[in-house]
C-alpha cells in the first residue's frame, strides 16, 4: 500500500478508536439539555457543574472513593512487587527440592480464572471477619501480599533468566549466601521487571471491579469503580453529566500512567504477553 493511503487509513481508524474518549470528555462538560440536544462533540457552553454535582452526589463524597481506590491500588502494588519478587527469586534462581513441581504449579495457576475461587474465598474471608470489618481491604490486599498473581511471578522469573549466572557463581565463591546474592545482585538488577510489575499492578487494580464489588459492603469503603455503578441505578437525564464527569476523573490516573510509561507498557506486554 502506498504511503499516503496507508497514513490516511490509519488516521481514519484512529478517529473511530478515539471517538468514544473524546465524546466522553465533551459530554462531561455539557449541561443536561445540551446532552440531549447537542450531538456535537464540543459543548456550546462549558458546564463544570457536572464535576461538583457528581463529587457530592452520594452520602459519601467521591473524594473518599478515589482515596479508597488509591489506597487499595498502592498497597496492592507493594504487595505484588515484594511477594512476587521473592517467589520469582526462589523459582528462577535457587536450587531446592521440588522446585520443578512448584514451578509447574505456578504455571498452572496462570490460567486459573479468578471467578472460580471467589465464592470459597468470600466464605473464608467472611468467617475471618474480614468482609465489612474494621479493615475492609484485607480480602483485596492479603492475596496480593501472598503472590497469588502468577502473571507477575512468571514475568519476573523470565526477566531473571536474563541475568548472567556467572554473577551468582562469583558471589558464591566469595562466600555470599542466597540472601546476600538476592540483596546485592538480583534485587538491583531486577529493577526493570519490578517497575513493569508495579505499573501493571496499579492499572489492573485501579480498573478492577469484580473482586471489589464482591468484598466491599459499606458505602464509605467503596472504591471508585464500585461507586460509579451507583449512577447506573439513577439514569435520569440529570445524572448523565455527573456520571460522565466522575467516570472521566476515574480514568485520569490510568491515562497519566499511559502518558508517562507508554514505551514501558507497550514493551512490557511484548516481552511477557501481559494483558492491558
Amino acid at each position: 500500500m502506498r504511503f499516503p493511503v496507508r497514513f490516511v487509513a490509519l488516521l481514519l481508524i484512529l478517529a473511530v478508536v478515539l471517538y468514544p474518549l473524546v465524546w466522553m470528555v465533551g459530554t462531561s462538560l455539557k449541561s443536561p439539555s445540551e446532552i440531549v440536544n447537542n450531538i456535537g462533540l464540543i459543548p456550546r457552553e462549558f458546564t463544570p457543574a457536572n464535576f461538583t454535582d457528581g463529587w457530592t452526589k452520594f452520602d459519601v463524597s467521591f473524594g473518599r472513593f478515589f482515596l479508597n481506590s488509591a489506597l487499595v491500588s498502592l498497597l496492592t502494588v507493594a504487595g505484588n512487587t515484594i511477594s512476587c519478587l521473592l517467589a520469582a527469586y526462589a523459582l528462577g534462581r535457587l536450587r531446592f527440592r521440588l522446585r520443578g513441581v512448584w514451578f509447574a504449579v505456578m504455571i498452572g495457576t496462570l490460567l486459573l480464572p479468578g471467578h472460580v475461587l471467589i465464592i470459597p474465598q468470600y466464605i473464608l474471608f467472611r468467617s475471618l471477619g474480614w468482609v465489612g470489618g474494621e479493615w475492609p481491604y484485607l480480602p483485596l490486599l492479603v492475596p496480593a501480599f501472598l503472590a497469588t498473581e502468577a502473571f507477575f511471578v512468571f514475568l519476573i522469573v523470565q526477566f531473571m533468566r536474563g541475568i548472567p549466572r556467572e554473577l551468582d557463581e562469583a558471589a558464591v565463591i566469595d562466600g555470599a549466601s542466597a540472601y546476600s546474592i538476592f540483596r546485592h545482585v538480583i534485587l538491583p538488577l531486577s529493577r526493570p521487571a519490578l517497575v513493569t510489575t508495579a505499573i501493571f499492578s496499579f492499572i489492573w487494580t485501579w480498573n478492577d471491579f469484580f473482586r471489589q464489588l464482591v468484598f466491599l459492603s459499606e458505602l464509605k469503603d467503596y472504591t471508585a469503580p464500585v461507586a460509579l455503578t451507583l449512577f447506573i441505578d439513577s439514569t435520569s437525564e440529570s445524572a448523565v453529566g455527573p456520571m460522565f464527569a466522575m467516570s472521566l476523573l476515574s480514568l485520569i490516573p490510568v491515562f497519566l500512567f499511559f502518558v508517562a510509561f507508554q514505551r514501558l507498557l507497550v514493551e512490557g506486554i511484548n516481552t511477557s504477553g501481559l494483558k492491558g
Binding site: 478508536v17 468514544p20 535457587l94 471467578h115 465464592i119 501480599f145 497469588t148
Partner: protein
C-alpha cells in the same frame, strides 16, 4: 574453631566455605524461605478454597447459615444446572456467542492494524500508543458506562446514524442487539494483541519477502504463504489469551444490565450468572457447581487449542519453542 581461628579466612577457603552438602541444605532452606509467601497463598487463597468450592458444589450452602449446617445434596446442583435451569443454558449460549464473535473480530482488527503499522515511518510509535490506549481503559466500569450511553436511544451512535437519515434503535435495551454492543467494546480493545502482532511481524526475515518478489508473488500470496505461517506462533498465543479472557467477561455486562444480565438475559455472561447465583440469590452451593464446570470447560478449551495448535502453528527452526 581450629583452622579458622589460626588462619585468616581469605587464605583458608576450605574453612570459610561450608561443604557441598551444607551448602545444598542451606540453599534448600533459602529456597523455601523465599517461596514461603507464595506457598502460603497457594494453600490458603487457591488450593483450600478450591477444595471448599468442590465440597460446596454438592451442598445447598447459603451464606445465611454456618458452613457446617450445609446439607449434602449429592449431584443435585449439577442435575439442575444441566437439565432444569433455563437461564444457565442461556448464559452458556451468550458466553459462547460472545467469545466466538468477539475473539476473531478482535484478532482480525489487531492483525489488520498491525500490518498497516508495520512500516518504518515517522509517528509510528504515536499511532501504536494511541491504538493501545483502549486496552488500558476499556476494562473499567467508567468506560463501560460511557459505552452503554453511546449506544442508548439518544446516544452518540444514533446521532451518527441520523446524519445519514437512519433512525437508530435503543441498542442496549434491545435483546437482539445488546450483546453486539459488548462485542464491539471488546473489539475496540484490539491494541494489546496488536502490539504483540507488531513484535511478531518484526521477526519475519525480510529475505523471504524479497525472494517471493523475485518469483513474482502477489502481496496476497506473500501474506498467505509467508506472513501468516511466520506469525502463527503469535496468532496462537493471542488466540489462547483472548479466548480465555473472552469467556470471563463480566464488567461490561454488569454495567449494561445493572447486574441483571438483561434485557431478557441477552447479556447474561457466565461469570455474571455465577455472581447472581452466589451473591444475589445467595445460593452458593449452586454457584460453586457452576464455577467448577466453568473451570473444567476453560481447561478443556485450553487443551483443545493446544492440541489443534500442533497442526497449524509453525515454529521456525532457529526459534526456541
Amino acid at each position: 574453631m581450629t583452622a579458622s581461628t589460626l588462619t585468616p579466612a581469605p587464605v583458608a577457603p576450605a574453612a570459610a566455605q561450608p561443604g557441598r552438602r551444607v551448602r545444598r541444605r542451606r540453599e534448600n532452606l533459602a529456597g523455601y524461605v523465599f517461596l514461603s509467601p507464595w506457598l502460603l497463598g497457594l494453600l490458603g487463597i487457591t488450593a483450600i478454597p478450591m477444595l471448599i468450592s468442590l465440597y460446596l458444589s454438592f451442598t445447598d450452602y447459603s451464606p445465611l447459615i454456618p458452613l457446617t449446617e450445609a446439607n449434602w445434596i449429592g449431584l443435585e446442583n449439577y442435575r439442575r444446572m444441566f437439565t432444569a435451569d433455563q437461564s444457565y443454558w442461556h448464559a452458556v449460549q451468550v458466553t459462547v456467542t460472545f467469545a466466538l464473535v468477539a475473539v476473531p473480530l478482535k484478532l482480525a482488527a489487531a492483525l489488520g492494524v498491525a500490518l498497516l503499522l508495520n512500516r518504518t515511518m515517522r509517528g509510528i510509535s504515536v499511532f501504536r500508543g494511541l491504538f493501545y490506549l483502549p486496552s488500558l481503559l476499556g476494562g473499567s466500569v467508567a468506560l463501560a458506562i460511557v459505552w452503554v450511553s453511546m449506544f442508548n436511544r439518544d446516544g452518540a451512535f444514533n446521532s451518527f446514524l441520523a446524519l445519514f437519515g437512519i433512525e437508530g434503535l435503543p441498542w442496549v435495551n434491545d435483546p437482539d442487539w445488546a450483546l453486539s454492543t459488548l462485542i464491539l467494546l471488546a473489539v475496540w480493545q484490539f491494541g494489546a494483541p496488536m502490539v504483540i502482532f507488531l513484535a511478531g511481524l518484526k521477526q519475519v526475515p525480510t529475505e523471504l519477502y524479497e525472494a517471493a518478489s523475485v518469483d513474482g508473488a502477489s502481496p496476497w500470496r506473500k501474506f498467505v504463504h509467508i506472513t501468516l505461517p511466520m506469525l502463527s506462533p503469535v496468532i496462537f498465543f493471542n488466540l489462547v489469551l483472548e479466548t480465555i479472557n473472552g469467556f470471563q467477561g463480566f464488567t461490561s455486562a454488569f454495567v449494561l444490565s445493572n447486574g441483571t444480565g438483561g434485557p431478557v438475559d441477552s447479556t447474561l455472561m457466565y461469570t455474571l450468572n455465577l455472581y447472581i447465583a452466589g451473591f444475589v440469590d445467595l445460593n452458593m452451593g449452586y454457584a460453586s457447581a457452576m464455577a467448577w464446570v466453568f473451570l473444567l470447560v476453560i481447561g478443556a478449551i485450553t487443551v483443545v487449542l493446544f492440541s489443534t495448535g500442533r497442526f497449524w502453528v509453525h515454529y521456525s527452526d532457529n526459534e526456541e519453542r
